[in-house]
């Protein structure tokens, strides 16, 4: 707590040097995917509520589970679930991209853009495949 206070008071009132921020850079696909990674991560943070609710509803009983199924089966629920699926797959693939970078590979300009392209194309196609499989398993929409 002391550090937090100190950090906000010391140096306040004097202009500090700033590092270049978002608007300075040219928009590239890897730049965009970097943003998507953070946004999808934040979405998944709240999306974990869905998983928790699903598990708690199943543990509570048939009525609670029916309520969950009804809401997730409604168009808004399906939209949220579609968004969650995409965010999950996108963040997972974006994470793999970061893990590749952690091994000091894939930093050349062409490689960076290829990885970024693979992330978005991969996440969108995997989401579609998963939903088609899901609907086939379900035997169509409820």
């Amino acid at each position: 707590m002391a550090e937090l206070e100190a950090g906000t008071t010391i140096g306040a009132g004097r202009a500090r040097p700033l590092s270049p921020h978002l608007q300075v850079y040219r928009l590239t696909l890897s730049f965009l995917m970097s943003g998507f990674h953070r946004v999808s991560g934040a979405a998944l943070y709240f999306g974990m509520l869905l998983i928790a609710w699903w598990l708690v509803a199943a543990a509570t009983g048939p009525n609670a589970y029916a309520n969950f199924e009804w809401l997730i089966g409604s168009w808004i629920g399906q939209l949220v679930l579609l968004g969650y699926t995409w965010a999950l797959l996108h963040h997972a693939l974006g994470g793999v991209r970061h893990l590749i970078w952690d091994t000091i590979h894939g930093f050349e300009p062409a490689e960076r853009e290829l990885l970024a392209l693979a992330t978005i194309v991969g996440s969108v196609s995997l989401t579609l495949v998963l939903w088609v499989v899901g609907y086939l398993v379900m035997g169509g929409p409820r």
């Binding site: 991560g41 598990l55 543990a59 997972a92 994470g95 998963l130 398993v137």
Partner: protein, 129 residues
Amino acid sequence: MREPELRTPMRRVRGLGAAHSGTQTFWRQRVTSVAGIPLTIALLIIVVALLGRSHAAVVQILGSPLVAIIMLLFIINMTYHMWIGMQEIIVDYVHEGKWKLLSLMANTFFVFAISLASVYAILKLSFGV
């Protein structure tokens, strides 16, 4: 009584960074992200396998040892991962002391509530009552 400090200030902070915990958080985020790959694939398979099934069937499958253990690993791994991730987002954007403190605290509360509720539900599905 404070022990006399023999190490120089530079020696004490070197390699520890702003969070005073070195690269620990960075490393744990990597460990949980690697673990998250197979666990996420497993979650997707479990969810697709459960689509459209009755409550009784869902309870039976989620409570079976292998599925329950995978779900527990998923929940614990991912909630820890998202706790670090949200902390990183907060320290990036929230600079005002009071709000930073409160949002970091809210992050911890949220993650504990979500993970504990999920773990409790999985255990209840597994052991009944």
